[in-house]
Amino acid sequence: MDMNEETSQSRKLKCDDTSKCFQLLESILDGEMDNSKEVLKEKLAKCQPCFEHFHLEQAIRDVLKTRCTKQEVPTELADCIRQKIQDIK
C-alpha cells in the first residue's frame, strides 16, 4: 500500500494538537471509538503528521501481532496443573 505520495500536498504540515490527535488515532486503531470512520477520514486527509502517525502506529500493531516471538508452552505444564488440581479436590 503506497499511500504516502498521494495528495500529501493538500495536507497541512503542522498538526494543531499532536497530543490530542495522536491519542485519538490510537483509540481508533484500538477499536475504542464509535463512528471512527468519518473522523479518521478527515484527519488523514487534512493533516500530514496525523497521517504519518496513523500509518506508523498501524505498522507497529501489525508487527506486534504477527511477528512478536511467541514462547513455546512447556508440554508438561497442563498435565502438571491438572495433577495438582486432582490433589486438592
Binding site: 498538526c15 497530543s19 495522536f22 506508523l56 506486534l64 508452552v73
Partner: protein, 199 residues
C-alpha cells in the same frame, strides 16, 4: 469481578468450567507470564499458581463470562504480590528516562518525523520482542494486553484495577517509549529514516 462467592458449583460443573473455560487460555497465560518474568521456571510457576487459585476461587467466577480477563487479573496480581520481589531479573524501571521523555512537548511530533512505518515493517520478530521486553513492566503490560492479547480498554481496566483513562494514557506513553526503542533499532540497523529525504 467481585470476590464474593455467589454460587456453589457441583464438582462436575467445576470440572466443566475448568476444562472448558480456563484451560484453553494456557498459551496466552504462559506467554504473558514469560514476558513478565523472563524466566521459564518462574513463568511455569506463575501460571500454575494462577490456575490453582482460579480453581480455589471458582465459585466467584460466573460461568460463561470473560474467563480470560478473570485469569489474567489473577496472574497479574500473583506476579505483583509474589514474583516481582523474587524475580531473577527484577523489573527495571528507568524513571529518569520516563520523566525526561515526558517533559518535552515535542515528543509526539518527533515520534513521527524520524521513524517510518516502512522501517518498522522491515524489522524482525526478535527486534520487536526485544524492544517490547526492554520496557518497564507497567508499560510492557499494557501493550501485551492490548496488542498481543486483544483486550479492550475496559477489560484492561479490570485486569489492572485502574480507571479507563489511565489505561488510555499509559498505553499512549508505552507506545511512545516503544517507538523510541524501535527508532534506536532503525538507526542501528541503518533502516531508512526520514531525515535525509526532507531536503
Amino acid at each position: 469481578m467481585s470476590e464474593v462467592q455467589r454460587r456453589k458449583y457441583s464438582q462436575e460443573e467445576k470440572n466443566t468450567i475448568f476444562d472448558g473455560e480456563f484451560m484453553p487460555h494456557i498459551d496466552s497465560m504462559y506467554n504473558f507470564a514469560y514476558r513478565l518474568t523472563f524466566d521459564e521456571d518462574d513463568a511455569k510457576d506463575l501460571v500454575q499458581d494462577t490456575y490453582l487459585k482460579a480453581y480455589r476461587f471458582i465459585n466467584s467466577f460466573e460461568q460463561g463470562t470473560n474467563a480470560k480477563a478473570w485469569l489474567f487479573r489473577i496472574l497479574k496480581n500473583s506476579f505483583i504480590n509474589e514474583y516481582r520481589k523474587k524475580s531473577k531479573q527484577p523489573a527495571k524501571v528507568d524513571y529518569q528516562e520516563v520523566e525526561t521523555y515526558y517533559n518535552s512537548d515535542d515528543v509526539d511530533y518527533q515520534s513521527t518525523t524520524d521513524l517510518r512505518a516502512e522501517s518498522v515493517k522491515g524489522m524482525l520478530g526478535d527486534e520487536i520482542s526485544n524492544a517490547l521486553n526492554s520496557l518497564a513492566v507497567d508499560f510492557r503490560t499494557v501493550i501485551i494486553l492490548c496488542d498481543l492479547e486483544g483486550f479492550t480498554y475496559e477489560e484492561m481496566a479490570k485486569i489492572l484495577d485502574i480507571p479507563i483513562g489511565t489505561v488510555r494514557s499509559r498505553l499512549h506513553r508505552a507506545r511512545n517509549l516503544l517507538k523510541d526503542k524501535l527508532r534506536g533499532y532503525a538507526h542501528h540497523m541503518g533502516y531508512d529514516t526520514d531525515e535525509e529525504e526532507e531536503i
